[in-house]
């Protein structure tokens, strides 16, 4: 495990493990390590990448893996390794930015609906039911059809529809919390609702949303790269992994590496977040 980490990271992680009660499971640390590794790749891309990702080299098109090009080249002579390294920036930020607005919006809506109940909550429930009747990708695509392709519009589409699972989770948790005795005690002590929500309900209701956040990052990356695969997400020449996979589709029989390697990158990044999410879920359950 320590082999994967550079010397800079190990002490910080060791401290985290030591301060928590009970040991952190190995898999969680692995997940954190993977995510951290990708983050470093994204940050230090210019230093790590052997070539400029958008530099073309017509003498070296469709080259298989070699010393000069460890992951091969594509139809325009772009180096695959360089594209994948720089693609890290795009995909990682896509995952992180894409979940931000839905997370916040969903939590706010979920808490308010769950705590106050009544007509507001009933309307919310109907809205959630309706939103859940559509496959997620259908809604996002429809919004992209309206707004046009591009990552920015993808984020807007997410802000419009992706808050629903968060709202559902937080609402369910809030319904339970609302009847717990310490919240009742706060009401008996005469605090106003806003204060009770922020101070007592929110910190406790946020837990399932935080756990889902990790899974959602994976889903956001998968969906975003899927969109880019069809030209509706990241536009050329942005080196996004999904778009790279699409470019390799026509050459799949002659130059399989163009499509395969970016896919492996997606799987590896998703793995990091999934492990981290699982670890987080276990840790939080232990606490309760």
């Amino acid at each position: 495990m320590a082999d994967q980490l550079t010397t800079g990271k190990a002490p910080a992680i060791a401290k985290v493990v030591a301060t928590r009660r009970g040991r952190l499971p190995f898999l969680t640390i692995l997940g954190a390590g993977i995510v951290l590794a990708w983050a470093l790749v994204a940050i230090f891309a210019p230093f790590l990448s052997p070539y400029d990702p958008i530099a073309t080299d017509f003498n070296a098109i469709l080259q298989p893996m070699s010393r000069a090009h460890p992951l091969g080249t594509d139809s325009l002579g772009h180096d695959m390794l360089a594209q994948i390294i720089y693609g890290t920036r795009v995909d990682l930020s896509m995952g992180l930015i894409g979940v931000a607005a839905p997370f916040v919006i969903g939590i706010i809506i979920g808490i308010i609906g769950g705590y106050f109940g009544g007509l507001l909550d009933t309307l919310l429930m109907r809205l959630l039911d309706i939103a859940l009747a559509f496959p997620f990708i259908v809604l996002v695509l429809a919004i992209v059809a309206i707004l046009g392709p591009g990552l920015k519009n993808y984020y807007i589409a997410l802000a419009i529809v992706a808050w629903v699972p968060y709202a559902r989770l937080v609402r369910a948790e809030t319904l339970v919390l609302r009847n717990l005795e310490f919240v009742e005690a706060a009401r008996v002590l005469g605090y106003d609702s806003f204060y009770i929500i922020v101070r007592h309900v929110l910190p406790n209701a946020i837990t399932p949303a935080a756990v889902f956040l990790m899974t959602d990052i994976v889903l956001t990356i998968l969906l975003g790269s899927g969109l880019s695969f069809y030209g509706l997400g990241a536009q050329p020449p942005t080196p996004e992994w999904g778009r790279l996979i699409a470019q390799g589709q026509t050459y799949i029989s002659q130059a399989w590496w163009i499509s395969v390697f970016p896919g492996i990158a997606i799987v590896l990044m998703a793995l990091g977040f999934t492990l981290l999410g699982d670890g987080l879920a276990k840790q939080l359950k232990v606490r309760q």
């Binding site: 809205l127 559509f134 509706l232 395969v260």
Partner: protein
């Protein structure tokens, strides 16, 4: 509350949902930029023809009226025309329904069976080598992009080895099946990880249930307790996942069908989004959500019928 009443209530409850779906579908399509009529009829169409068609679809009326015209046309079977195909949308939808149905049914079967097998095997010997392997499998599997999977499978099984056809749907049932094998495999590999994780977690949770200890205290063997008590108690709360699977497969069809050149609803949808084919988008969002709502309703009613706790 009597069971029949609860079931009827479920049916009542989808009415506002259906209403909401029709509104959203309408609004979505209405917000797409561009004049669909002009696009359908072409740049050289005479003005009076354009005006007549606009009149027919009420495109100059206020939004609310347009909505009701939309509803009326919907029921009448007039779902507009496709810009790209120049054919009525309803025709298109009906034509493309079958391939997606194949995908849906096959996808369901080939996801449910591996899920059951893997979850049961895994939870039978928790933390054993088989269980650990299964866990690795589904943890990695959660991150597999389905379009990439499709390409990899095509590469290995169609292009490199020539065992299976790479694209198309075939002309008879036998050919349909052989063309659907790779798409089914793709859907299965995309869905099984998350379903297995879910079911396995439920099974593990029930392993420690009190009634298991009670059963053991009566001297009943573990395998009997597993099949007779743990499994039913795990499957029942997991039934709602069936609705989720349908949702996912429909979504996946959008991504997978184009790669395999399967002329289904998913391929139709993605093309219509890329080409901003107004009426097709409108109809497709409706169709997808209707399928989902029907599936979810069926699962809910099934759960209500099976669960003896509800009277």
């Amino acid at each position: 509350m009597k069971k029949i009443n609860l079931i009827l209530q479920r049916f009542w409850q989808i009415i506002p949902v259906l209403l909401g779906i029709s509104i959203i579908t309408f609004l979505l399509a209405h917000s797409i930029p561009g004049d669909p009529v002009r696009l359908i009829l072409g740049p050289r169409a005479p003005q009076d023809v354009i005006d007549a068609v606009r009149q027919q679809y009420g495109l100059d009326e206020p939004v609310l009226t347009q909505y009701f015209i939309y509803l009326r046309n919907l029921v009448r079977g007039d779902w507009g025309q496709s810009i790209a195909f120049k054919t009525p949308v309803l025709e298109l939808v009906l034509l493309r329904f079958t391939p997606t149905l194949y995908l849906l049914i096959g996808g369901l079967v080939f996801s449910i069976i591996p899920t059951l097998v893997l979850s049961i095997l895994g939870s039978a010997n928790p933390d054993g080598w088989l269980d650990q392997t299964i866990r690795v499998f589904y943890t990695v599997g959660l991150g597999l992009p389905s379009y990439w999977l499709a390409l990899v499978l095509v590469l290995i099984f169609a292009i490199r080895s020539g065992w299976l056809p790479a694209t198309g749907f075939g002309n008879n049932i036998k050919e349909h099946i052989s063309h659907m094998i790779l798409p089914w495999a793709t859907v299965s590999m995309a869905m099984t990880p998350i379903l297995t994780r879910n079911l396995r977690a439920t099974l593990m949770e029930k392993q420690d249930a009190d009634f298991v200890i009670a059963g053991l205290s009566k001297g009943l063997p573990r395998y009997y307790i597993f099949w007779r008590h743990i499994l039913p108690n795990s499957v029942l709360p997991s039934l709602h996942l069936l609705g989720v699977i349908v949702l996912y497969i429909l979504g996946s069809s959008i991504v997978i069908e184009p790669i395999f050149a399967i002329p289904g609803l998913g391929q139709l949808y993605i093309r219509s989004v890329i080409g901003r084919d107004y009426y097709v988008i409108q109809a497709m969002t409706l169709v997808f959500s209707l399928i989902t709502v029907t599936a979810t309703l069926a699962v809910d009613v099934l759960t209500l019928i099976i669960d003896p706790r509800i009277k």
